[in-house]
């Protein structure tokens, strides 16, 4: 069966493309899946995280027995070889060296791999000259993406693992990093914990607001803070945050929030964080710091 795909940026249209690919593959049964990539002129390499996740679940569910990528432009092939995506899926292509130090390689992690994930972040963000962040921003960024990872582990209940990939775009002054899981998504999580049926995009919005969390009702631990911290960080950084869960899309970009709805669903959640790498500001308000007294924490 042949599927034609188009460009994939970290935007509503890019995620829609991913969802449509999944829609077509999930109709297959033990097929030979041929993906026509002649229409792909651009792919944000971080989109390999959700792409890898959907190929993984499709493979595990035996929607295809073989997959071929056809008519791939050399530039696109280069990107997917450098970040290890193609070698990872057995496309019989070697990993290419990351000459410019701009690649954050495609990886799949297990639920208990927090430490390996952190080492992966360390490996890809330290000593490669990318990006030009202040030490404070780099620290905040590492902690933020650990928050996203832990959030995926805690909320998705996925058994398939967690898929990650990123790319530094020096000329655009941005670094995009995506984390995808194949878990139950925001909407079902909220329904199961709180008995409420939101639209998918509203469930994402709900999870990002105020005191909202499903954690209290699940395990007696307070929670629901990780994504809110990231949102706050992104607001200060003037970067971007896109979340896709089931059929919902929620985006924060340079201070502006957008919600949208896909016709079909992604079988889990994708969180994409976009860092404005030119940002030099401090990440705590002085007033917050000076008000703190170690004797008055508990």
């Amino acid at each position: 069966m042949n599927i034609s795909i188009g460009n994939m940026s970290s935007t509503f249209d890019g995620f829609k493309e991913i969802i449509e690919i999944y829609g077509e593959i999930s109709c297959m049964e033990d097929s030979i899946c041929e993906i026509d990539m002649s229409g792909v002129n651009w792919i944000d390499a971080n989109m390999c995280a959700p792409l890898g996740a959907l190929l993984q679940i499709s493979n595990d569910k035996k929607h295809f027995r073989k997959i071929r990528l056809l008519e791939m432009k050399p530039r696109i092939r280069d990107i997917l070889q450098k970040n290890g995506f193609l070698p990872n899926f057995g496309f019989d292509l070697d990993k290419k060296p990351d000459t410019y130090g701009t690649t954050i390689e495609y990886q799949r992690f297990g639920r208990i791999d927090s430490q390996s994930f952190r080492r992966y972040i360390e490996r890809h963000f330290v000593g490669k000259g990318l990006p030009k962040m202040s030490p404070r921003l780099a620290q905040k960024f590492r902690e933020s993406i650990s928050e996203i990872f832990e959030n995926a582990v805690d909320h998705s209940r996925t058994e398939y693992g967690i898929f990650t990939c990123g790319q530094y775009f020096p000329s655009q002054g941005r670094l995009d990093f995506s984390i995808a899981d194949l878990g139950i998504g925001f909407r079902r999580n909220i329904f199961e914990c709180l008995g409420k049926n939101f639209k998918s995009e509203d469930s994402i919005e709900w999870a990002l607001e105020g005191m909202n969390t499903t954690r209290l009702l699940k395990g007696g631990k307070p929670g629901g803070f990780g994504l809110k911290l990231i949102k706050k960080f992104i607001e200060l950084n003037k970067g971007g945050l896109q979340i896709v869960s089931d059929s919902g899309f929620w985006s924060l970009y340079q201070g502006k929030i957008e919600k949208n709805h896909f016709e079909s669903s992604f079988p889990g959640t994708i969180v994409n964080i976009e860092i404005n790498t030119g940002d030099k500001q401090r990440y705590c308000l002085e007033s917050e710091l000076t008000d703190l007294n170690p004797e008055d924490i508990f």
Binding site: S114, S146, N151, D246, Y283, L292, P294, I297
Partner: protein
């Protein structure tokens, strides 16, 4: 000095160093936070005061702190936490995150039932998701 204050001073203080319990300077995973929680809880139940040392902590997340400390507010009285827990060697940013987690946990557990009811009311009806 008041007798009660003298008694408090004499109470044994157990120092719990986060990176020793976790076995790493990365205090990020919820399940590592659970290990710290278990150690703190045992010490408090044994009647000890606890000093949490953040010495050597490189990365810290809310997921870790919620597990390690936040959930204690659902298990022990707030007054006991205030009396028996202290913190050392924490950077300003670590303190800020810890303070946020503690404040949030206090709000949650102060009136859990009210929070649950308010949440359900806020969300209206309860149809099952289609997928």
């Amino acid at each position: 000095m008041h007798n009660q204050e003298i008694a408090k001073m004499k109470k044994e203080i157990m120092e719990i160093t986060l990176i020793e319990v976790v076995g790493s300077d990365l205090c990020i995973a919820s399940e590592d936070g659970q290990k710290v929680h278990d150690v703190i809880k045992r010490a408090l139940e044994d009647g000890k005061n606890v000093r949490l040392s953040f010495k050597g902590v490189r990365d810290l997340t809310s997921a870790f702190l919620n597990s390690a400390i936040g959930q204690l507010y659902g298990e022990l009285p707030e007054a006991e936490m205030k009396e028996k827990l202290s913190v050392s060697d924490a950077s300003n940013e670590d303190l800020l995150l810890l303070k946020r987690i503690v404040n949030r946990a206090k709000e949650f557990f102060k009136d859990r039932e009210r929070f649950e009811t308010a949440t359900r009311e806020l969300m209206g009806d309860d149809d099952e998701p289609e997928n």
